[in-house]
């Protein structure tokens, strides 16, 4: 185990006073798992291309749960309007604005743990029930469970139409880099609808590590639109894991936009448990400098007639490095499943690197599946075509790479958000080496 892992393990909180008992069990099993495996290393297949040297070199400390004063000026400007907005600083809610729609309950995790929220215990336990053999790659989740206290719980009662809720994440500037753990739990009862817009954007040159686990349970016919926009500083580390459990005819739609961050890792996993469930997972990642962005997306089809579509586009310039892994498993009995995977990448520099790998396993009948992964350069004929009309070379290349990434944002239903995100992408679009 690395020195950092040992230090973090030693700093884990004591669980003697933790109540209720089931929470104590979750925290203790997380701690045990972390003490055994520590943070993942490249020896783990899922972390083969993503090393944590950046963390090892920093004098990272496990953040304490002390309340921090909110500095209003250091809060990021929300990228879009919403019915309800929560600001989270270092993983804790520090501000709330707007109205809580009828049928929606939003609580700090600590309060929800004390008061009890329908379905919360099951949801939290579903993460720690995993097979310990495969858990060595989930050191960050184990650490998150071992410190489970900060975060948000969002519960929508049956039939609630909640509109948009924004989670605006940021972290404070401390002398030494801190590691924050936070948990988001979203429970949508039957037929409830919610759009969750997450924004990660810490002001200044932040070198903190955010370790966030996002868990969602979608009841029958529930719909969650989950948009994640991150433009963190180039020294920050963002480790997130998204686990979505989907019941019959529920719909999960994800949009991930990675525009920043020094080291970014996102594990997204949707389990289609009920028949007719639908999971649409889209993402764009833009890299330059020495940034590293790793997206692992996986969909498990357990029930009949499910639909999944993964669509990711990536652009890497400078010495940027992108890792993308998309996996689909159609389990026995998940007949008549349709599963689509598409990942295309553009390399703008000889020093940039993109590792992409699609995986597809099918154990059911009458399955429609397609997958494709490409890494290429810009179409030089298209560059010439644009230049022959008067655009200079840089403009032409920028237009083409932006268009490539906009094929993701163009799928957003809200034209205002589509425009904002497309402009943000254009602003940070990496440039080609000359």
């Amino acid at each position: 185990m690395s020195e950092l892992s040992s230090q973090l393990a030693a700093a884990l909180p004591d669980n003697k006073q933790v109540r209720p008992q089931w929470l104590k069990v979750i925290r203790e099993s997380g701690a045990e798992q972390f003490r055994t495996h520590g943070l993942p290393t490249r020896k783990n297949e899922a972390w083969k291309y993503t090393g944590l040297a950046r963390l090892d070199q920093s004098e990272m400390q496990l953040a304490s749960d002390m309340d921090k004063p909110l500095n209003e000026g250091s809060q990021p400007v929300p990228i879009a309007e919403s019915e309800l907005q929560l600001n989270l600083l270092d993983g804790q809610i520090v501000a709330q604005s707007g109205n809580v729609p009828t049928g929606l309950t939003v609580l700090p995790l600590a309060d929800a743990l004390m008061n009890g929220i329908n379905g919360l215990q099951n949801l939290l336990e579903s993460l720690s029930d995993e097979n310990p053999k495969s858990s060595s790659g989930h050191g960050f989740s184990a650490l998150n469970s071992a410190t489970l206290e900060s975060g948000v719980v969002i519960h929508a009662a049956s039939g609630t139409e909640a509109g948009r809720l924004s989670l605006v994440w940021s972290s404070s500037q401390d002398e030494k880099p801190q590691l924050f753990n936070s948990r988001v739990c979203v429970i949508l009862e039957q037929g409830a609808k919610l759009e969750l817009l997450e924004q990660f954007e810490s002001p200044g040159d932040n070198a903190n590590t955010s370790n966030i686990v996002f868990q969602a349970e979608l009841g029958k016919e529930a719909q969650l639109q989950h948009i994640r926009f991150q433009q963190e500083s180039e020294n920050s580390v963002l480790i997130t894991r998204t686990e979505v459990l989907q019941q019959e005819n529920s719909e999960y739609t994800y949009f991930g936009f990675d525009l920043g961050g020094g080291l970014v890792r996102h594990d997204l996993h949707a389990s289609l448990l009920g028949s007719g469930a639908k999971s649409v997972i889209n993402g764009a990642y833009l890299l330059d400098g020495n940034r590293h962005v790793d997206n692992h997306a996986r969909v498990d089809h357990f029930a009949k007639g499910g639909y999944s579509n993964q669509y990711f586009r990536g652009v890497a310039g400078g010495s940027g490095r992108a890792v993308f892994n998309t996996a689909v498993c159609v389990h026995p009995g998940a007949d008549e499943t349709e599963a689509r995977q598409s990942n295309a990448n553009v390399l703008l520099s000889a020093r940039a690197e993109i590792d992409t790998k699609p995986e597809l396993e099918i154990y059911a009948d009458e399955v429609i599946a397609s997958h494709g992964a490409t890494v290429g350069q810009l179409d030089e004929l298209a560059v010439f075509y644009l230049r022959s009309r008067g655009l200079d070379e840089q403009e032409a290349r920028q237009l083409l790479t932006t268009a490539f990434c906009q094929s993701v944002s163009d799928k957003l239903a809200d034209p205002v958000l589509r425009e904002i995100i497309s402009q943000r992408m254009m602003d940070v679009m990496p440039q080609a080496d000359r």
Partner: protein, 266 residues
């Protein structure tokens, strides 16, 4: 009339193979020249070299455009100086909106010439006006550049771009190929509307058909990398009748055209 384009002894290779072998051409302001010839003669190579496409190596000769060395300019500089190539195979660019692209191009050219940039309102006004005179619907404005366009739509889009950018030298590279008669008329109309004493045009074509609608001042036959014969508009008609087989028969002596003169290399 002054000389707008002067090509002297142009030799060019593609992937090591010599395609142009000493081509001479002088285009005066206000003229339309047609360049005809068999497949593989080097017609498209000439268009691409004038527009500045990579992959063509000029080994000898020079090209002066309004007295400036055209071959030294970047493709975008040529465009800003007023050169426009209507592509034989217009490129599909998924995700780039046609209107956005054309406005960016026009403004890049206006900026180069020190003119004021057009805002989207003024630009749309201009665009609608051009579409109307060309009898093209505004459907293509909302689509990605050439993406999913039929062959005819792509060619019309080239003419539409030409009408908006108003080049001083337009080169049409087989713009007529694959067009039905209605599309051909639209293309010809676009060209004829742009015809003026301040502009020059080179119409590269394999067939005479387009020249029924665009009457050129001169017709040249390009064969084996050189202009082998030049004449008036009637030369095209004779070529239509007699094909290009006479080239292989060893000369143009059998080509009975009053105005034809054999090109001589300097």
């Amino acid at each position: 009339m002054s000389s707008m384009l002067k090509i002297t002894n142009l030799h060019a290779t593609v992937a090591g193979k010599e395609i142009l072998k000493g081509l001479n051409l002088e285009l005066k302001t206000g003229e339309i020249h047609a360049i005809m010839g068999p497949n593989g003669a080097g017609k498209s190579t000439l268009g691409n070299i004038l527009a500045g496409r990579e992959g063509y190596e000029v080994t000898q000769g020079e090209v002066l455009f309004n007295g400036k060395n055209l071959l030294e300019m970047e493709p975008e500089t040529r465009a800003c100086e007023g050169v426009f190539l209507a592509f034989q195979y217009p490129v599909e660019i998924p995700g780039v909106n046609n209107t956005y692209f054309l406005r960016a191009a026009l403004n890049a050219q206006r900026k180069y010439r020190g003119e004021e940039m057009l805002d989207s309102v003024a630009f749309l006004r201009l665009v609608r006006q051009k579409l109307e005179v060309l009898h093209i619907g505004d459907g293509l404005l909302h689509r990605a550049v050439n993406e999913g366009f039929s062959g005819g739509e792509k060619k019309r889009n080239e003419i539409f771009q030409m009408a908006v950018l108003e080049p001083t030298l337009a080169i049409l590279d087989e713009t007529d190929s694959g067009l039905d008669i209605d599309a051909l008329k639209i293309v010809a109309e676009g060209v004829n509307r742009l015809r003026s004493k301040d502009r020059g045009m080179i119409v590269i074509t394999h067939y005479q058909r387009l020249l029924d609608y665009i009457v050129p001042d001169k017709v040249h036959v390009l064969a084996d990398g050189k202009l082998v014969v030049s004449g008036g508009a009637d030369l095209a008609l004779k070529l239509e009748e007699q094909g290009y087989a006479w080239l292989e028969d060893g000369g143009i002596a059998t080509l009975n055209v009053d105005s034809a003169v054999q090109s001589a290399n300097p």
